[in-house]
């Protein structure tokens, strides 16, 4: 049974009102680099009646890298999949609370789900090229959203392969099947594919864990470049990576957010005992 509890008809309108009020108070989130891009309020997720995410409150700040850390099984993947609504594809999911992106509740029943997913590029753990050529992998998203002009598509493909640092390596074999690329190249291809639909947020789920050190460094560097234009939320299980690139840290444990804040604060001066223990390698 798929039950989408929230939002009900009544509190949907309340919600709209608060959003309108919010907008009057603050400036538009995207024009203010301090406003959160994604706000999670009292989010609870149940999978097959198991309470997986427990009362999550969280902000993903605009144009910076937020690393979500925590031991395996604590719900990091579930959280990311809630953000782009891929989670609901599983059975028996119940979601309460809200996730606001640019002030828009993504679980609003009137919302176009493809619009939400387009906004949030997801980079999964293992690269997953589509069964088509390198070119078509990048052109796939734009084509689906209505770009038909060949010249435009050529330009898009070149632009985002460049953005993912892959253009020089593949420009001579754009029409070769994508899965002939190395794993590291495939992951950059997937990044480029996500970027090609012009998302606002990039979600990465341990995006470097299947890669060799050199490829994973490349991806990391890309993230650092990309935060100029995108808000980035990365799940990572290597603390080192978080220390290298994170602006903000969210530490999760057993489905709850234990501590969240600017990276320097959390790393140098954790408030919670659990965080301190996790950071010092007491458990992992």
């Amino acid at each position: 049974m798929k039950t989408m509890k929230y939002p009900t008809e009544e509190n949907y309108y309340d919600e709209v009102l608060t959003i309108v009020n919010d907008k009057n108070k603050k400036t538009m989130p995207s024009s203010n680099s301090n406003a959160p891009h994604i706000s999670v309020r009292n989010l609870n997720v149940y999978i097959q009646r198991n309470h997986i995410l427990k009362n999550i409150n969280l902000d993903i700040p605009n144009k910076s890298i937020t690393c979500i850390i925590g031991p395996s099984g604590c719900g990091k993947t579930t959280l990311l999949k809630t953000f782009n609504r891929l989670l609901e594809r599983s059975n028996e999911i119940k979601i309460t609370g809200e996730v606001l992106v640019d002030g828009e509740n993504i679980h609003d029943p009137h919302i176009d789900i493809t619009h939400i997913r387009k906004k949030m590029g997801l980079l999964s753990q293992r690269p997953c090229p589509l069964p088509m050529s390198i070119y078509d992998n990048i052109a796939y998203g734009p084509k689906i959203h209505g770009t038909r002009n060949r010249k435009q598509l050529d330009a898009i493909v070149e632009k985002y392969l460049n953005a993912a640092g892959l253009w020089d390596e593949v420009k001579d074999r754009l029409h070769a099947p994508a899965n002939r690329l190395s794993i590291g190249q495939q992951q950059r291809l997937c990044l480029a594919r996500g970027l090609a639909v012009e998302p606002e947020v990039i979600l990465g789920d341990e995006a470097t864990s299947a890669l060799d050190p050199i490829s994973s460094k490349k991806i990391e560097e890309l993230f650092v470049q990309l935060k100029e234009e995108y808000s980035i939320a990365l799940v990572t299980h290597t603390l080192r990576q978080a220390q290298r690139i994170a602006d903000y840290i969210v530490f999760m444990y057993l489905g709850e957010v234990v501590e969240a804040g600017p990276a320097a604060e959390v790393f140098n001066n954790p408030k919670e005992k659990l965080t301190r223990e996790y950071l010092s390698g007491y458990f992992s």
Binding site: N84, L86, R89, N91, T114, H115, R117, K118, M120, G121, L122, S124, R126, C128, P129, L130, P131, M132, Y140, G141, I144, H145, P177, N179, R180, C190, R193, G194, A196, V197
Partner: protein
């Protein structure tokens, strides 16, 4: 010392197991060759008297006069199989997609065993049902709109009955093929904002093309050889069908209907053996071609 012996023994067993399995594999391959050779030897007399080309290009089948033209039977087989696959394939693709991509697990739990039951019904039951329902329906309801007269015993009836027989086979293979596609691939397509249908059309179907072809090949091979159900609804008149409402006489029906009778006629049993050989060769050629196509596609798209 004892340990050494034990190791030797284990290695010996390993070698033995491998060779026995190799032997059995070769044996089953040999069976196909033996059948082919046997059929060839048995049909040698008629091939000695007539040229192969004249046999397969002539449509006159008059055993009493010593005229053996196989064209009607070859065409009958091809018509019935083609009609069956044209009916079955779109239907199977759509229901396979529905079952694996859209259907609630509960629906799947009910439908899957039902499909298995359908696949297990004996051909003769389908034949009886075809003769009782499909034949009159074609003859009395459908055909009058298109042709002056049709008894209903036609290649169309044969194709329909055959289609119904291969549908469960194709559907169950297809759902397995779709189920083997990783969830991540669907997620990858959905997360750039594709709809479910776009994902199916551009990713799932593409990824499973080799599997779909293999399923169709299997179904067609099965259709070529299906005998009894087709025999009961096709009319079995040795003529080359010119429309779907004409009667036909597929090769397997010819063999099954006549083997053991009128064997005293000169060359008659040899002619039936040749019919079997032709069927054998058609299936062989068909499978070889489709295998080549399959490999080409897999190479081309690195699926």
């Amino acid at each position: 010392m004892n340990k050494l012996n034990h190791t030797k023994y284990r290695i010996l067993k390993d070698i033995l197991a491998r060779n026995v399995m190799l032997g059995l594999t070769i044996f089953s391959l040999l069976l196909a060759v033996i059948i082919g050779i046997g059929l060839y030897i048995k049909s040698a007399p008629i091939l000695h008297d007539h040229s192969l080309w004249s046999l397969i290009s002539s449509s006159s089948w008059r055993p009493f006069k010593g005229e053996f033209g196989f064209l009607p039977f070859i065409m009958g087989t091809l018509w019935v199989t083609l009609i069956a696959i044209v009916i079955a394939l779109p239907l199977c693709l759509l229901s396979g997609i529905y079952l694996s991509e859209y259907a609630h697990p509960f629906v799947k739990r009910i439908v899957d065993p039902m499909i298995d039951i359908l696949a297990g019904i004996p051909p003769v039951v389908y034949g009886v049902w075809g003769a009782l329902v499909v034949v009159p329906f074609i003859g009395d309801v459908v055909a009058p709109h298109f042709v002056e007269y049709s008894s209903g015993y036609s290649v169309l009836s044969g194709g329909i009955v055959l289609a119904i027989m291969i549908i469960p086979l194709i559907i169950s293979i297809l759902t397995e093929i779709f189920a083997a596609i990783p969830k991540e691939l669907r997620d990858a397509s959905l997360s750039v904002g594709a709809t479910k249908w776009q994902t199916i059309k551009f990713v799932i179907i593409r990824k499973s093309t080799p599997g779909i072809i293999a399923a169709v090949v299997l179904a067609i091979s099965r259709a070529f050889g299906e005998t009894i159900a087709v025999l009961m609804v096709c009319g079995n008149i040795s003529q080359v069908p010119h429309s779907v409402f004409d009667s036909g006489y597929p090769l397997p029906a010819l063999i099954a209907n006549n083997y053991g009778e009128m064997m005293s006629l000169p060359l008659y049993d040899s002619a039936l053996m040749l019919a079997a050989l032709i069927l054998f060769v058609i299936i062989l050629i068909f499978n070889t071609i489709s295998r080549i196509v399959l490999v080409r596609i897999e190479r081309r798209f690195a699926l």
